[in-house]
């Protein structure tokens, strides 16, 4: 969407609502909210055309804190609500704010279908690997063995990999960032907002009350460069504070961590967001810390017709080719007969 120059220039403040923010002190949600407020004015979209739809969970309070249109709905259903809204009103820009429990447990079905349909939604999933609002049960992304209130002896549930799920469902935009990685998060949100189609962004978010420090590996200053690979389209996968390590594909097709002193840059794996084949993105999504460095950034960004766009196209085509519906004709279609007045 292009900026209308006649519009007043909006700032971060214009997107803040008058509602008191009620997340716990130092919750990672604050940072995500702040970055979102920073990104929105840059999109050139009038405030009234933006809608935030959320499910239920701590993160899902988000819409109350934005001065756009918004809906805080019911647990897990935000993607379906947003789909209905977007199909009815394709001109709106619709964000979905959801948590790992909301999106992947109760709402897994809707998430999968919104993604495979490629509804033009920006789905931002706050992943804290815990149920925050209900006070600390394990979530579908909690690691095996995780001790929580509902798993006092350690979780025996295998965790889901959110990005693999998104890629598997055919998402056209898949990315990951972290709450306090301010610049990175801003750029990922900007990219997601600009994407035409369903964008799925996983944001590592610190719940300092129930699952403190789960993502330190990806957020701590002295650690993140060693533990994460910041993806750049067309560039080789290089990481490390000294940018001395890289990823290569071995003979069996698996990622292989190498030292740049041993391997030429050209032999490394190059990142390509745009391949239609999801294998590359899937391979990256499978790379998880601590077994390997973890990729951050945009995994996949491909172009495909959007669901709402196609519905709209059919809708308009029908009107153009069949003419606007005529009720008289509709009523009189099929076999009709006349009953004459008694003479």
């Amino acid at each position: 969407m292009s900026a209308d120059t006649s519009l007043p220039v909006l700032t971060q403040k214009d997107f803040a609502s008058d509602q008191e923010i009620r997340w716990c002190p130092r919750c990672g949600d604050y940072s995500i909210l702040a970055q979102m407020k920073k990104v929105l004015p840059t999109l050139g979209i009038p405030r009234e055309n933006i809608v935030f739809v959320s499910g239920i969970g701590c993160s899902s309070r988000f819409p109350y804190y934005m001065s756009t249109y918004g809906m805080h709905s019911i647990h897990g259903r935000a993607p379906a609500i947003a789909t209905g809204l977007k199909v009815a009103r394709p001109e709106l820009t619709v964000f979905v704010i959801t948590g790992d429990g909301d999106a992947l447990s109760i709402g897994g079905n809707h998430l999968m279908h919104a993604l495979r349909r490629n509804v033009d939604l920006k789905i931002i999933m706050f992943n804290n690997q815990i149920y925050g609002l209900t006070k600390g049960q394990y979530s579908p992304t909690s690691p095996l063995g995780k001790k929580t209130k509902s798993t006092p002896f350690g979780s025996v549930d295998r965790p889901l990999n959110p990005l693999s799920i998104a890629i598997g469902a055919g998402a056209t935009f898949v990315a990951r960032s972290a709450d306090v990685d301010i610049k990175h998060l801003t750029s990922v949100l900007e990219r997601a907002a600009a994407h035409k189609g369903s964008a799925f962004v996983e944001v590592y978010q610190d719940c300092n009350v129930f699952n403190s420090g789960a993502f330190e590996f990806a957020t701590k200053k002295d650690q993140k460069e060693e533990n994460c690979i910041y993806l750049e389209h067309g560039k080789p996968l290089i990481y490390g504070k000294a940018r001395d390590k890289g990823v290569r594909i071995d003979g069996a097709g698996n990622p292989d961590i190498v030292n740049l002193s041993d391997v030429k840059e050209d032999d490394l794996l190059f990142h390509d967001e745009t391949t239609d084949d999801p294998t590359h993105a899937f391979r990256l999504a499978q790379m998880r810390w601590p077994d390997s460095p973890e990729p951050m950034g945009v995994f996949r960004a491909i172009e495909r017709p959007t669901y709402d766009g196609e519905v709209d196209r059919q809708f308009k085509d029908c009107i153009a080719s069949q003419g606007s519906g005529d009720l008289d004709k509709l009523f009189n279609s099929g076999d009709t007969w006349e009953v004459k007045a008694k003479s």
Partner: protein, 638 residues
């Protein structure tokens, strides 16, 4: 009704074993007032098609018609099995009729299983036409017959039996067209149809036209069906088996142009009409379920009317997509049946607290759980009335017949939009699949729902107040895209006025009260309850939904016998019409027949403290007029 009118023909001998002299072309033609025919056969035998064609030609001829399709629950039950029997009953009449009839005058049974499962409904002295070719060892076995019932004179002695070798005659008729045996055999429903056309003096032209338009691309199939139809007709005409045939004169319907509608078609047309007249777009989010799917199918065809349809991944997504579309300003609708409505409960509650207009159509079927998917029942009343968490009142209205669905769908939209609330429209499998003549209405003069989306803030400088109400307690339907009215809705309790989240105890009490007072306001917008029959008397029979026709007919029959029986049919169940309590007080006794175990009965008793009597039937079948008359007598005598 039909039952008495056929008595004249009952003195005809029931059997035709004695050889009859070859007849001339002129056979006796008797006039009867109404006739009930049932076609039944294997689900592959094309019985629905035969029934529909008969209905169409009767309607075009000018009879009043009413139909009852009866589908097997199994999609592909083994051919010839008892579970695989598909039936289509219709009543056509020269008088006004309100049901497809109690007893069957003419039963067409295409195989032993069909005979076994349907014979009990054929009246004594009725006409039985069977395809005797299908009564072979294998089919008899599948129908669990030890011996061929057609050979057992005593079993069929009370009917006028016509054993017709339909398979063979159909094959002969289509011989030379190069069809396979299977293809040839598929034409035998047209043979049966042709025979019944002769029997009831029907004009087969409309069916011939239909066959031509349907099979234009397949000349041999087209020709085969036409030949089978003709062969059936000629068989009736020339065989010695049939000595009489009948005519049912045209009915005196109100003058005008008519067509036939099923309930599901009428719901779809009513919704489209309401949206079009409101100059707004319709959004339909649905998930397939019997018997509601046809609403999705119908609406999917009507994009040019401003309809967007969404086949969701499940009912939860269907209802929540509707919530999203309603927030966006569309006229948002979903339809389902019991199991799907159960899933939608949480989403509907969200619509109630957000006070968004939505229409939810519940095409009821037998429950609980998956229950009887293809059979009718009225047992979702509690589900729609109470089936949500919290104090969650919402309007419930019910259509009474296929054609009435058209008006009630528009009424559901009116209430939803004018009062900013989700609305339940109840229909049922009987109404949804049944058909009746519908007098095509004039578009001019139809009620136009006014959709208002404010563009100005109502907060006098304090920002937009999404829960500021008008005199009807209705909040404004502001929609995204409107500058200056940005607001947030949600499932958490709202502060009245601002709509901000509120845990204030008094506010929750107040909002709960407002949500229920809205129903009182709706009551002021609906018509007073009328009764059929005298203004006061011995007995008032209360019906709702699809039992309308049977109850109306039974009450009328009782009155004809001099009994003081009035009929009150409820279209508005929540809220009730304001005068209903007063109406109830004018009768000594109240009877409430329902196809459930007494759900309206409980609500009426709780509401009005009347000692009403419940009549409950849960067999997956509509009421018969006769059984209602018996119950009326029993209550009157008690």
């Amino acid at each position: 009704m039909s039952s008495e009118s056929r008595e004249s023909s009952e003195q005809e001998t029931a059997e035709n074993e004695t050889p009859v002299e070859s007849q001339t072309a002129t056979k006796e033609l008797q006039t009867v007032e109404s006739v009930v025919i049932r076609f039944c056969g294997d689900s592959g035998d094309g019985m629905q098609l035969a029934g529909t064609q008969f209905t169409n030609v009767s309607a075009v001829f000018g009879n009043d018609v009413s139909t009852l399709p009866d589908f097997p629950a199994e999609i592909r039950a083994p051919a010839g099995s008892l579970f695989g029997v598909s039936g289509f009953q219709l009543c056509f009449s020269s008088g006004d009729i309100y049901t497809p009839g109690d007893e069957v005058d003419t039963l067409v049974a295409m195989n032993p299983a069909a005979l076994k499962t349907n014979l009990a409904d054929l009246k004594r002295g009725g006409t039985l036409i069977v395809n005797e070719d299908a009564f072979d060892k294998s089919n008899l076995g599948k129908a669990h017959y030890d011996s061929n019932p057609l050979d057992d004179e005593s079993e069929l002695a009370s009917y006028r039996v016509h054993k017709v070798p339909m398979t063979r005659l159909t094959r002969d008729a289509v011989d030379g067209l190069g069809l396979s045996v299977r293809e040839a055999d598929r034409c035998k429903n047209f043979f049966a149809l042709g025979l019944v056309y002769w029997l009831y003096e029907r004009d087969s032209k409309p069916t011939e036209e239909w066959v031509k338009s349907k099979f234009g691309k397949y000349p041999s199939v087209l020709e085969a069906n036409l030949r089978a139809l003709k062969a059936g007709f000629n068989f009736g005409f020339s065989t010695e088996q049939f000595t009489v045939h009948y005519e049912v004169p045209a009915a005196q319907l109100e003058p005008g142009r008519y067509r036939k509608v099923t309930g599901n078609e009428a719901v779809a047309m009513g919704l489209v009409t309401a949206a079009k007249l409101a100059e707004t777009e319709l959004f339909y989010g649905g998930y397939p379920i019997t018997p509601a799917s046809d609403i999705l199918h119908e609406l999917s065809k009507l994009k040019r009317f401003g309809v967007r349809t969404f086949q969701a991944e499940d009912e939860i997504a269907a209802i929540t997509s509707v919530v999203g579309a309603a927030f966006g300003g569309a006229l948002a609708v979903t339809a389902s049946s019991g199991p799907g409505i159960a899933l939608k409960g949480e989403g509907i509650g969200l619509g109630v607290i957000m006070e968004l207009p939505m229409v939810i159509v519940d095409v009821q079927r037998g429950g609980p759980s998956t229950g009887l998917p293809t059979k009718t029942e009225q047992s979702d009343l509690f589900l729609t009335y109470f089936g949500r968490n919290g104090d969650c009142p919402m309007p419930v209205i019910a259509a009474r017949s296929p054609a009435d669905c058209f008006a009630m769908a528009q009424e559901a939209v009116r209430i939803a939009v004018e009062f900013m609330t989700p609305v339940f429209l109840l229909t049922d499998g009987y109404i949804a699949n049944g058909a009746e003549p519908w007098k095509i209405p004039e578009v001019d003069g139809m009620y136009r729902v006014k959709v208002r989306h404010p563009t100005e803030s109502n907060g006098n400088g304090h920002g937009f107040q999404p829960y500021m109400r008008d005199e009807n307690l209705v909040r404004p339907w502001a929609i995204p895209g409107t500058p200056g009215l940005e607001h947030r809705l949600g499932g958490l309790e709202k502060s009245d006025g601002s709509g901000n989240v509120s845990y204030d105890p008094d506010n929750h009490q107040q909002m709960t009260k407002i949500r229920s007072q809205k129903l009182d306001k709706i009551a002021e917008s609906i018509p007073d309850q009328e009764v059929d029959g005298s203004e006061s008397g011995d007995l008032l029979v209360i019906s709702w939904g699809g039992t309308y026709g049977a109850v109306k007919s039974a009450c009328a029959a009782s009155r004809r016998q001099g009994k003081s029986v009035a009929h009150c049919h409820l279209q508005y169940i929540h809220p009730f019409p304001r005068n209903l309590g007063e109406v109830l007080s004018r009768y000594k006794k109240v009877l409430i027949p329902e196809l459930n175990s007494g759900q309206l009965w409980i609500i009426i008793r709780a509401h009005f403290l009347v000692d009403a009597v419940s009549m409950s039937k849960v067999k997956g079948k509509p009421f018969l007029i006769g059984e209602l008359c018996d119950k009326i007598d029993e209550v009157l005598e008690s």
